[in-house]
């Protein structure tokens, strides 16, 4: 069996629009990617997932909680390269809009959620938590930059020719 690029795809706080766009890209690239890429972690599509030995982790969404921070550090430890995908991962926005709230914005209802779940004080973009090797901006991600980034790693790991 030919070597494949081992990829993980992860979503944190966001609307998951880049995941949806990724599933749209499968309309055209499924047959090719199936030969070249092992999607080892892709909960949008798979029940059986593993973090181990990822070549590239694509991470969508901003980081809203200590639990998410811990998780994304775990991903970093298991991935040779990490790519921030979409506006929320790259800039924090719009998911980080609550960072602009002043006291009067924190209603009792919002405070109830802060008190009952482990929200961080500030929503963070991905590179405020872990080292990020590449970014794919856009809301949703720019599909052409995603395709060129994937191609870059396919070449880097010698899955396809660099010629």
């Amino acid at each position: 069996m030919n070597k494949k690029l081992v990829v993980g795809w992860f979503s944190f706080t966001c609307c998951e629009d880049s995941t949806i766009l990724f599933t749209e890209l499968l309309n055209d690239h499924y047959d090719t990617w199936k030969k070249l890429v092992e999607f080892r972690y892709l909960k949008a599509l798979k029940t059986k997932n593993s973090l181990e030995g990822l070549d590239v982790a694509f991470v969508e969404g901003a980081i809203s909680s200590p639990t998410q921070e811990k998780r994304v550090r775990e991903i970093r430890e298991n991935a040779k390269y990490v790519v921030a995908v979409g506006a929320c991962a790259v800039t924090g926005r719009p998911s980080a809009t609550r960072n602009d709230f002043v006291d009067k914005d924190i209603t009792d209802k919002i405070q109830w959620y802060f008190d009952h779940f482990d929200y961080s004080k500030k929503v963070l973009k991905l590179d405020e938590v872990i080292k990020v090797d590449d970014i794919i901006g856009g809301c949703p991600m720019d599909k052409n930059i995603f395709l060129s980034t994937l191609e870059k790693y396919l070449k880097l790991f010698k899955i396809i020719s660099d010629a």
């Binding site: 706080t13 949806i20 892709l42 609550r98 949703p140």
Partner: protein
């Protein structure tokens, strides 16, 4: 038979949106929690003080897969707050775009998430690369369906996700009619594939019957996702503005989302395709009905798995509806309606792919958002999902743990909750007392 507690836990899967916890005592479920775990972004608070004209684009970011539903519900809410009437062309273009949304969104759910359950494989990535294999054919059907759904939205509203052309009052850019003939031809050629999908979901004999209460939008003139009144299976009917009167909000302390029950009976209820087909199937496109008479005989249905069949039927309806619109649509140049700002409140209710979606905008006399509320379908289905799971576990505790886990996921998936919930959301850690 399990004699002690069972824990189904998803705590370590933070990217997942939901998890399930089940406790068993005396061979019965003593406690079951379906927990939505997406962290809130508080967009309805963040939009306050912002120009109402910009609210729809911002609030479409609530959801990636049904952003068009949030966009259109928000536009409707702001338009009504301003007493703004839009043109018939605007209404028909929104309807056409919505057909595209439904095709893409339903196909994603049915083929990418549910089809592997039917085929007995983990994921679409495990479907054999054999053109004669039915799973392979269905998967590749889905690529065409999704692509055409997206192309309709690309042509009409500029994108399938966070579309740029729709605006309060109309469209910032109108579609190029030169692209309609090709879309018509390709949509008409797609009917056999969608009919193959409908038969597949009809033939899938999974069954879970419990609830019999439903709610959706109904427009007596046509099968409409955007306009109508709210009806429920108890015969109650109210205008969109009174939608909250149907509901009592329920705080679910372990979940990031509140739940809802009917305000009069305090019963849980279901929104989504099953509700729509149960209550509105008399309004489906005649061409659709002509080709699926046998499949419609199962409705009204209380089998939650028939939500999948109902979605497949809606795909054919949307295809036929889109073809009709595209064949008859003549585009006239027009600009979005713009009024001087006024203080007011407006409600927009639409049928999102996964159920009834409510936006309410209060706008001040400067045209700024003073208050905003949203009620989403998955919140409304939350208690129903939990009660279905209680029934399932109580009836099936004799089954092995792996089987229970897979079946529980199938039940949740049948509701088509938002994406990461619908797919592979569980990490199971079983423990017994």
């Amino acid at each position: 038979m399990h004699s002690g507690d069972i824990t189904i836990d998803d705590i370590t899967k933070v990217e997942g949106s939901a998890c399930l916890s089940v406790k068993v005592a005396n061979d019965q479920v003593s406690d079951l929690k379906f927990i939505i775990k997406d962290y809130r972004r508080f967009y309805t608070r963040a939009v306050r003080g912002k120009p109402a004209l910009t609210a729809p684009s911002f609030l479409s970011r609530i959801c990636g897969t049904c952003s068009v539903a949030h966009l259109f519900a928000s536009i409707e809410a702001v338009e009504k707050s301003q007493g703004m009437a839009v043109s018939e062309q605007t209404k028909i273009l929104r309807r056409l775009a919505y057909d595209g949304l439904m095709l893409r969104d339903h196909a994603l759910h049915l083929y990418f998430f549910v089809l592997p359950d039917i085929l007995g494989v983990d994921s679409i990535l495990d479907i054999p690369d054999n053109v004669n294999n039915l799973g392979h054919q269905l998967l590749h059907d889905s690529f065409y369906i999704k692509r055409l759904g997206s192309e309709i939205t690309d042509v009409v509203i500029g994108a399938a996700i966070h579309a740029p052309y729709p605006s309060v009052g109309g469209f910032l850019k109108l579609p190029d009619p030169g692209k309609f003939p090709d879309l018509i031809t390709r949509l008409e050629n797609l009917r056999p594939q969608i009919l193959r999908g409908i038969k597949t979901f009809f033939d899938w004999k999974e069954t879970l019957v419990r609830n019999s209460d439903y709610l959706c939008l109904r427009n007596d003139k046509s099968y409409d996702f955007l306009e109508g009144e709210i009806v429920n299976s108890n015969g109650k009917r109210v205008p969109e503005e009174k939608f909250p009167e149907f509901l009592d909000s329920v705080v679910i302390p372990y979940s990031e989302s509140e739940g809802y029950v009917f305000s009069d009976t305090h019963e849980d209820y279901l929104v989504g395709s099953l509700a729509r087909i149960n209550l509105n199937r008399d309004l489906l496109n005649p061409k659709t009905v002509a080709d699926i008479k046998d499949f419609l005989t199962v409705f009204p249905s209380n089998n939650i798995y028939h939500n999948n069949l109902a979605q497949a039927i809606e795909m054919l309806h949307c295809l036929d509806d889109a073809v009709e619109i595209l064949k008859n649509l003549k585009i006239s140049e027009e600009k979005p309606v713009r009024n001087s700002p006024r203080a007011g409140t407006g409600v927009g209710v639409v049928e999102a792919p996964r159920g009834t979606l409510y936006h309410k905008a209060a706008v001040d006399d400067k045209g700024m958002v003073a208050d905003y509320e949203v009620i989403v379908p998955t919140s409304q289905n939350q208690i129903n999902i939990e009660n279905d799971l209680k029934k399932y576990f109580n009836d099936n505790l004799g089954k092995d743990e792996e089987n229970l886990r897979l079946e529980a996921e199938k039940i949740i998936r049948a509701y088509d909750p938002c994406m990461s919930c619908a797919t592979n959301f569980l990490k199971i850690d079983w423990s017994r007392a």
